[in-house]
Amino acid sequence: MSKVPAELRYTKSHEWLRALPDGSVEIGITDHAQAALGDLVFVEVPAAGRTLATGDACAVVESVKAASDVYSPLGGEVLAGNEALATQPELVNQDPYGKGWILRLKPSGNAASADLQDATAYAAEVAGD
């Protein structure tokens, strides 16, 4: 069973979103997504300062099996991409909700109003896969 932390929110395309105390958000891919992709071999993260709209492809995760886009659950300005993933893409496999975060974003709108699922809804969705 894949892990679905209760405090995060989720997209249908298997990204997670964590609200940080300063109003910014952290984004990554879920445990379910990393397991489906298999061992990651490259991760391309966005540069700080880039402006994203909701649903923009903002990162690429490439595994032994396939390359996939990561979509931004919110619009805003990129504060940082996780540079550690350039040399250690396996962090996404090992710790998808921690050291394997992909980007931090300063949302342009109200992050709370975004169209996201809570952990219960997301867990139910991936259980049906």
Partner: protein, 363 residues
């Protein structure tokens, strides 16, 4: 739709394997980290459930003559019992029906091992020609097949065989096999490492698999099998060649015995192709920048024209992307590969990339 299941299916499920459809069979693609499985085979020992592959027993005095006609490689090279031969089986126009291994056991008995996805058409093709030759053909779906591969494969697998089999298996040279009662042990594989491919009655397969695992042999899935065979420079039927291409355009000229008087199906077409020169060739590619080669990506080879990646992956041993591509015969040096809309340089290299744990290409 539910695929066919090997005798080890329940063990794979219990081990938490991710299962995929492969040639109509539900098989593990990995049990956890595919890269760790790959490394186990390169550095220690790993095992693969290859029971989906189909063993065919051909028996009768006409078997050698039949195989001389059916196979592009020369079955006449098998003079010592137990010796194996890799060969393509061709259509009259030179297209590849399948690639297979033929084992010479005695003058009345040869065993072929063919791919799962092609087994039905292979059987039909062989049966049509076996019947008039008086050769009997028996698919051995009663056998499971486990490949134990890696530098420690012999040391870990041998003690688990019956004493009588142990002595025979220990004495096998590379590319030799021995029957041992209902078991069959071959020193062959698809990884570029030493090891065995062991056939045994299906009922005994789970216990043998568990014993191998207890001896420290790591279960590996199709994912690792693919990265290992690519590093080893070995073709995959259906990706690197099929009925639309000849072995000469598939990097398999070394397996075709064109010289001499022996006539075989497809020979005339290949002789004609050789005399006019093949238009294309299959080459190894080493990607020079970030990214991963994948099948069907376009390859641009300057004035020589363009071609296509037939297999590609990330190589855990090289920590770079590698692949095979079918390109115009004149292509040489560095080419460009279209990866998700970006042209990335790749160098044409001599295969294999890796053999017996050693990197053989310049990085």
């Amino acid at each position: 739709m539910m695929g066919q299941r090997t005798p080890l299916y329940d063990l794979h499920v219990a081990a938490g394997a991710r299962l995929v459809d492969f040639g109509g069979w539900d098989l593990p693609v990995n049990y956890g980290s595919q890269i760790e499985e790959h490394r186990a085979v390169r550095c220690d020992a790993g095992m693969f459930d290859v029971s989906h592959m189909c063993a065919l027993d051909l028996r009768g005095t006409g078997t050698r003559a039949l195989l001389a006609q059916l196979l592009a490689n020369d079955i006449g090279r098998l003079t010592v019992p137990g010796k194996a031969l890799y060969s393509c089986m061709l259509r009259a126009d030179g297209g590849v029906i399948d690639d297979l291994i033929a084992y010479f056991l005695d003058e009345q008995w040869f065993r072929l091992v063919v791919n799962a996805g092609t087994a039905a058409k292979d059987l039909e093709w062989i049966r049509e020609r076996a019947r008039p030759a008086g050769v009997s053909l028996t698919p051995r779906r009663d056998l499971a097949m486990i490949a134990v591969q890696g530098p420690q494969a012999q040391a870990k697998a041998l003690p688990l065989l019956r004493p009588a089999c142990q002595a025979r298996a220990a004495g096998l040279g590379p590319f030799f096999a021995t029957p041992c009662g209902e078991w069959f042990v071959a020193r062959t594989g698809y990884t570029g490492e030493d090891g065995y491919e062991i056939m045994l009655p299906s009922g005994g397969a789970p216990a043998f698999w568990n014993a191998l695992q207890a001896a420290g042999v790591r279960p590996c899935g199709l994912g690792a099998r693919d990265t290992l065979r690519l590093e080893a420079g070995m073709n995959l039927y259906g990706s690197d060649m099929d009925e639309r291409v000849s072995p000469l355009e598939s990097g398999l000229a070394w397996t075709v015995a064109l010289d001499g008087d022996r006539d075989f199906i497809g020979k005339e077409a290949l002789v004609a192709e050789r005399s006019r020169g093949s238009a294309r060739k299959l080459v190894g590619l080493l990607l020079l920048e970030r990214g991963v080669l994948r099948s069907h990506q376009q390859v641009v080879a300057g004035d020589a024209g363009s071609g296509e990646v037939t297999s590609g992956t990330y190589s855990p041993t090289l920590e770079r992307s590698i692949g095979f591509a079918r390109v115009p015969a004149a292509a040489a040096g560095t080419v460009q590969v279209d990866i998700r809309g970006r042209l990335v340089p790749a160098r044409i290299v001599k295969l294999p990339f890796v053999r017996n744990g050693r990197i053989l290409v310049e990085l």
